[in-house]
């Protein structure tokens, strides 16, 4: 009695196994759903990022990338290469735009200041030195230094440097007080 039943169920088992096997195995390379892999490459720059103050705290704002400056060369207009951190620094020193100001953003950098980068011994890969000249020779506040530091470090991304966590900025100003190299207090990439 049980023999026939056992045989039948065995046969059923085999058939089921074969079908499942065929389904699982399929044949050849099969189409798949979308597979996620590793992290995508970083580095595209869509905007210039400046750091302003929002009631005393650092706040990043994005501005459109400035068009490359053109000068008249001997054979028509040419675009000289301008470092991104210079562009960003210049933009920051000019203060918030009208829209940004309307949004309550301020800058602690006195108007009319200007700055330049110093690379006496060349860029050592970690420390960027720059000097800010203010009109009356007033010293920069810590907020202003943070603004400059973060803006300059973030601008490095624009020039292709992705590992900015080790970057330090030394800001010299009119005051005789020399500051130690510092990083951006905000998390920068």
């Amino acid at each position: 009695m049980t023999r026939g039943k056992g045989l039948l169920s065995t046969v059923a088992l085999i058939l089921a196994g074969a079908i499942v096997g065929l389904l699982v195995a399929g044949c050849g390379i099969r189409p798949t759903a979308v597979i996620h892999g590793q992290e995508a490459p970083k580095g595209a720059v869509t905007s210039m990022i400046l750091y302003l103050l929002d009631h005393g705290t650092l706040h990043a704002v994005a501005r459109p990338l400035p068009a490359p400056p053109t000068i008249d060369g001997p054979s028509g207009k040419i675009s000289p290469w301008v470092p991104a951190e210079s562009q960003a620094l210049d933009a920051l020193l000019q203060g918030p735009s009208a829209t940004e100001a309307a949004g309550g953003l301020t800058s602690d950098i006195p108007p009319g200041a200007f700055g330049y980068f110093e690379r006496p011994g060349g860029f050592d890969g970690t420390t960027i030195s720059l000097t800010i000249k203010t009109r009356q020779g007033v010293a920069l506040s810590q907020h202003a230094v943070d603004q400059i530091t973060c803006t300059v470090i973030t601008a490095q991304l624009t020039d292709g440097s992705l590992d900015t966590t080790r970057l330090r900025v030394v800001v010299h100003d009119s005051g005789d007080q020399s500051r130690p190299p510092q990083g951006c207090p905000l998390q920068t990439p």
């Binding site: 085999i14 996620h36 892999g37 992290e39 490459p41 595209a44 869509t46 990439p189």
Partner: protein, 481 residues
């Protein structure tokens, strides 16, 4: 269901069942192993292909990832051409020129994933009948909220997987081939196993048949120490016990028969003397007184009966000892039967229908014994008319002896040829010895040649009365008998 089961039970011998079981086991194992290996190997092949294509591609795109957006057409072109020949770089409505890449291969879900996930994605598709892999690399841009998000600049590449397809197909083909080999091997092993199991079974069957046909000395050879050997040992023990018991019974029976034969033989000599004396007594009986004469006649009568009984017993003993021999002669059967009736004075009491000219090779003395017994029995126990009919064909001579008596009752019928069987126990002291029909039956049986066996059967006629049918082979070989 039950019919199927019955069919399987009847039609599936041990051998096909074993073969099927083995093949199934092999098939399951092979399928499981091959399937697992196949799946794993295919995954490895797919992963290898992916890694060997995707990783270098990501590296090449990464070295070009630093782009100010929106890009120029030249920038897009150079990104795409640097990635690979079938790559395309896309930014919003712009795309690189001169690419072999077919944008329609990008599935909508891939589009969606590219816009949101921030990871390299790929998808295997079937592109015009060939398996292919579409790889999408979004390029991330830094956001003011300090995260990296897809910038809208995307690079797509497609790579054909024809080689991998071939490799996987070879894999599958190998799996099938080795699976078939395994199945074949399983069949061979199963047949060998079935042979190993079935040979002792067949030998057991043969020996059991020998035993059943009377060869009590048939034994199995016990080999090994397994269940079959155990079974063979049990069989042998049983057969030995059976042989011993049967031998014992035969010895006892032979002893009993020899005893009967000896007794009959020993009785013959005194009976011969007694017969001589009773002959004298018979002659003297009228001169004796009433009582004495009656006694003398009684003694004479009983002595004759006893003589008859002893003769019958000796005849039966000869049959039992196998010492009965046929003395064949070509005779006219009708004449022989007529002679039997005439000698016993039965001619007027019997309606005999005996066609002349039936010549058969028989033992006339034994035929006489049979006919005398049958007719005497019919005359004694049946009612007249008693009829005889003789019939013959090429092979057989048949004689029906019919009477119009009450016939044979169903209890009597099976025992009518038994020795000393009395149909009517009230009439225990009958005329005959009680051996007449038994001797007739033995005589009929003795007329056997080749496949033709003489027989004597008793039955009841539908219209009433008993019929005894004697059936003898017409032509007897001069056998060793």
């Amino acid at each position: 269901m039950s019919r199927l089961r019955r069919f399987l039970g009847v039609a599936w011998g041990l051998r096909p069942r074993l073969v099927v079981a083995f093949v199934l086991i092999a098939a399951i194992s092979a399928a499981a192993a091959s399937g697992a290996i196949y799946v794993a190997a295919r995954r490895t092949i797919e992963t290898d292909a992916t890694n060997s294509v995707v990783l270098p591609l990501i590296d090449r795109v990464k070295s070009n990832a630093h782009q100010k957006l929106p890009p120029t057409q030249d920038t897009l072109n150079s990104i795409a051409s640097y990635a690979s020949a079938v790559s395309i770089a896309v930014y919003q409505n712009m795309k690189s020129k001169d690419s072999l890449f077919d944008l329609s291969t990008i599935t909508p879900e891939m589009h969606e994933t590219m816009r949101t996930s921030g990871e390299v994605v790929w998808q295997r598709i079937n592109y015009k009948g060939t398996p292919a892999m579409v790889i999408g690399i979004p390029i991330l841009a830094y956001q003011t909220d300090e995260t990296w998000k897809p910038s809208g600049l995307e690079v797509y590449t497609m790579t054909y997987m024809g080689e991998q397809e071939t490799a996987v197909q070879e894999l599958a083909q190998n799996a099938w081939q080795f699976g078939s080999l395994a199945a074949l091997f399983a069949v061979i092993v199963a047949l060998a196993a079935a042979r190993g199991v079935l040979r002792p079974v067949r030998r057991l069957g043969l020996t059991a048949r020998q035993l059943g046909e009377g060869d009590l000395s048939a034994r199995l050879t016990v080999r090994g120490n397994d269940e079959m050997a155990e079974l063979a040992r049990t069989f042998n023990n049983t057969a030995a016990a059976l042989e011993q018991h049967v031998g014992q019974l035969r010895r006892m029976e032979a002893d009993a028969r020899r005893f009967v034969a000896d007794v009959s033989h020993e009785l013959r000599t005194p009976l011969a003397a007694m017969t001589a004396v009773t002959d004298v007594l018979d002659e003297e009986a009228p001169q004796l007184g009433d009582d004495a004469g009656q006694a003398a006649r009684l003694v004479s009568q009983e002595t004759r009966k006893l003589t008859r009984l002893v003769e019958d017993l000796m005849e039966v003993s000869r049959f039992d000892a196998g010492a009965a021999k046929l003395a064949l002669d070509d005779i006219d059967v009708a004449n022989a039967i007529g002679a039997t009736l005439r000698v016993r004075g039965w001619l007027g009491r019997v309606e005999a229908e005996l066609p002349a000219g039936i010549i058969a090779r028989l033992d006339p003395r034994r035929l006489d014994v049979i006919v005398a017994n049958l007719v005497g029995n019919a005359l004694k126990h049946g009612a007249p008319p008693v009829r005889l009919r003789l019939w013959a064909d090429h092979n057989w001579v048949e004689l029906w002896v019919m009477d119009n008596g009450p016939g044979l009752s169903p209890e009597v019928l099976p025992h009518v040829f038994d020795r000393f069987y009395k149909a009517d126990f009230a009439r225990a002291r009958s005329e005959g010895s009680g051996l007449g029909l038994a001797i007739a039956w033995e005589n009929a049986r003795l007329h056997s040649t080749g496949q033709l066996h003489g027989s004597l059967e008793a039955a009841n006629r539908p219209e009433g009365g008993a019929v005894f049918t004697l059936r003898l082979p017409r032509v007897m070989d001069e056998g060793p008998a």
